[in-house]
């Protein structure tokens, strides 16, 4: 187990360096004028040029520049945005909103996905099953750029149940509609996987054994069927995190939430290299760590799995 974790951590370091290097390269390299790129559209004076060249080690080879950047990153120094704001500050503003949004989305996805998936799996072929299955199919095919504006139109503008935009300091209530939109695709996939998994497990021999013991139907489902059906569903949470992060770019944009997604998009559009690389680095770490945790959780849930 320890060996497995160490190997995974080493692989994660490689992946992290690879991913951040690529993004760093995309944001900084191959620019006709890196300093102009750093400064965005503003004119640059020779003096500023001098400062920036030193600050970003622009006279050194590219890989060395990346090395300096990484060293800063590892000591917690994300640098400054093009507008001169410390990126650490931007992050501490943006992350809480996105974490709230993502957790809320994940909460809805697990609640509805597993709940409805369980019922559908237990009653295969029923009206409930067929309806949810058709619904999930539509939701899986529904791009978030379609879902977000339409949900905003229907539930925000027309029905007025939720605020249309979340605003600078989004309340939990204001985040509900965006979270439902963001978690929709995850809900659908989770529902389908839970349903398939439950449908397979209710026919399993050990479920028959559990019934033969005279356990109550509730206990058979809750302890034996559900527990075993959750094993594949857990893996999905790791994969979903990537989808959620990507979806957050659109959702936060549409609902005007000042989170990681909207900051990133802004950074990319204004070619704010330091900001983008900083945010992406954190995202990659979050993604990798989540996936490692999910894999470890998998081994906890299924004792047959042995990592070495």
């Amino acid at each position: 187990m320890a060996r497995y974790i160490i190997r995974r951590l080493l692989q994660m370091v490689v992946t992290f360096i690879g991913a951040t290097f690529v993004v760093y390269a995309l944001m900084f390299a191959n620019q006709n004028d890196p300093i102009q790129a750093l400064a965005g559209d503003r004119p640059v004076s020779d003096n500023v040029r001098q400062v920036l060249t030193e600050q970003y080690h622009l006279n050194d080879p590219f890989v060395v520049q990346y090395g300096y950047y990484m060293r800063g990153l590892l000591t917690g120094d994300f640098g400054k945005t093009l507008t001169g704001r410390p990126i650490g500050d931007v992050m501490s503003d943006a992350w809480p909103n996105t974490i709230k949004l993502a957790l809320l989305a994940l909460f809805f996805a697990t609640l509805f996905g597993i709940g409805a998936g369980l019922v559908a799996g237990l009653r295969r072929g029923s009206a409930f099953d067929n309806t949810t299955l058709a619904l999930t199919l539509v939701v899986v095919g529904l791009p978030i750029i379609v879902l977000a504006p339409i949900a905003q139109l229907v539930f925000g503008v027309k029905l007025g149940w939720f605020p249309t935009t979340a605003g600078a300091r989004p309340s939990l209530y204001g985040l509900i509609l965006p979270a439902l939109v963001l978690g929709a695709a995850s809900t659908a996939t989770m529902l389908r996987l839970t349903r398939a998994s439950v449908a397979e497990n209710v026919r399993a021999d050990y479920v028959r054994t559990a019934r033969a013991k005279g356990l109550s139907a509730r206990r058979v489902v809750a302890v034996h069927v559900l527990r075993n059906s959750m094993i594949p569903v857990i893996t999905l949470i790791g994969v979903d995190l990537g989808t959620l992060m990507a979806g957050a770019i659109i959702t936060e944009g549409v609902f005007n939430i000042p989170g990681v997604g909207s900051k990133l998009l802004l950074g990319i559009q204004t070619e704010d290299g330091p900001l983008v690389v900083g945010f992406v680095s954190v995202l990659v770490v979050v993604f990798l760590v989540t996936n490692l945790l999910v894999d470890l959780l998998y081994a906890v849930l299924d004792p047959r799995i042995r990592y070495e």
Binding site: T209, K213, R219
Partner: protein, 384 residues
């Protein structure tokens, strides 16, 4: 009670047990091919067959019928099966795979999935109470507590994600409400009882960490946790090596005696139950075709199907000779042949067999019956 053999006279030319018998199972010269001499000479010690007291048995299954709705139509899987067991007794239910034994057992337990299964008619009388008509709650109460079941493939029948001790004591915790520590202690005791070595250390291991034989012992311990009065073991040794098979059978026999249980042993292998069963019920195509006490059945199988099964049992005294198995396969339960279901495979079949189904008729004075148009003497005569 004394043991009598009503057919002794009609089988005069029994060969010595060591004599090589090569005949096909329908060969007329096979008269005494299965005579188990050892058992024959000693009176059946275990055959403590409880005679029905005022006609009431511990478990009495009567005319059970189970159907499955399938795509190809209705599958008639169990077609009027009757049998009974009493405390301290072992009944073997024998039949080729697909003859409806497992479905019968699951119908008795009340764990069939309905749909697709439908219990059409019959009674499952436990202590006189018909389990097919009681409330679902009462049914569940009986299940596991009064009648317990051991399944064939212990690896898939045990939940892979819970420790064995946890699974053994699960019913005690959830149904009797005993606390965790006591449950664990009980689990260890039960594992000791089924002779799992180092039970205290292994109680927290998972099913995949045990060998096949040990896993089957875990299953047995689990079934015994509530001290059931009837234990149904559905092919408990089919998935195991021959040596392990014998150990498990011994264990079941011992436990049956110690706990004064009624044991129903389901098997497709007559050789496996020969030493443990008191009585045998033979099933074919969802019907009982013969039942008899084990010695009579071995000595003078009445039904052609039983004769075929016996001919295919590997036996130490017949070592080195090919097995004779019944040609053909059991019928599809959605298309059971008219008349005697066995007729397409029966070497004795006559026109009447194709037209009318034989009923189970009593043979002789014993608790013994066969469902064939021809009495055993007639069959023997036709071979001669």
């Amino acid at each position: 009670m004394t043991y009598s053999n009503p057919y002794q006279q009609q089988w005069p030319n029994q060969p010595a047990p060591a004599a090589p018998v090569v005949a096909g199972w329908d060969d007329p010269n096979r008269g005494g091919w299965d005579t188990p001499t050892a058992a024959w000479s000693t009176p059946p010690s275990r055959a403590r067959v409880n005679q029905p007291r005022s006609g009431e048995h511990l478990l009495d299954v009567r005319d059970l019928r189970v159907e499955f709705g399938t795509r190809d139509g209705v599958a008639h899987v169990v077609n009027g099966v009757s049998f009974h067991v009493d405390p301290g007794e072992t009944l073997a239910i024998l039949g080729e795979s697909g003859s409806g034994k497992s479905v019968t057992a699951q119908a008795v337990m009340g764990i069939l999935d309905t749909p697709p299964a439908v219990v059409r008619s019959g009674q499952v009388l436990f202590g006189g109470e018909d389990l097919l008509t009681v409330s679902a709650d009462r049914r569940r109460q009986v299940r596991g507590q009064e009648i317990a079941m051991v399944f064939q493939d212990a690896l898939s029948a045990l939940n892979p994600v819970f420790p064995v001790g946890w699974q053994i004591s699960e019913a005690l915790r959830s149904r009797r409400g005993i606390n965790k520590a006591d449950a664990r202690r009980r689990a260890i005791e039960l594992m000791d009882m089924v002779q799992i070595p180092a039970a205290a250390e292994r109680v927290d291991d998972y099913p995949h960490q045990f060998s096949g034989g040990m896993r089957q012992r875990v299953m047995i311990a689990m079934a015994l946790a509530m001290r059931p009065k009837v234990l149904i073991a559905d092919e408990p040794t089919t998935a195991l090596d021959v040596t392990v098979q014998a150990q498990i059978m011994d264990l079941l026999a011992t436990l049956r005696a110690e706990l004064e249980m009624a044991l129903i042993l389901i098997t497709h292998d007559l050789g496996v139950v020969a030493d443990v069963a008191d009585r045998i019920t033979v099933m074919y195509a969802g019907r009982v075709v013969e039942h008899a006490d084990v010695h009579t059945l071995y000595a003078q199988p009445a039904h052609p199907y039983t004769r075929g099964l016996l001919a295919s049992v590997p036996r130490l005294d017949h070592r080195g000779h090919g097995l004779h198995s019944i040609s053909g396969t059991p019928p599809n339960p959605a298309a059971i042949p008219d008349g005697c279901a066995f007729h397409p495979r029966c070497p004795w079949a006559q026109q009447v067999c194709r037209m009318t189904a034989p009923t189970l008729v009593r043979i002789g004075r014993l608790d013994r019956a066969s469902a064939c148009h021809f009495p055993p003497e007639a069959l023997d005569a036709r071979l001669a």
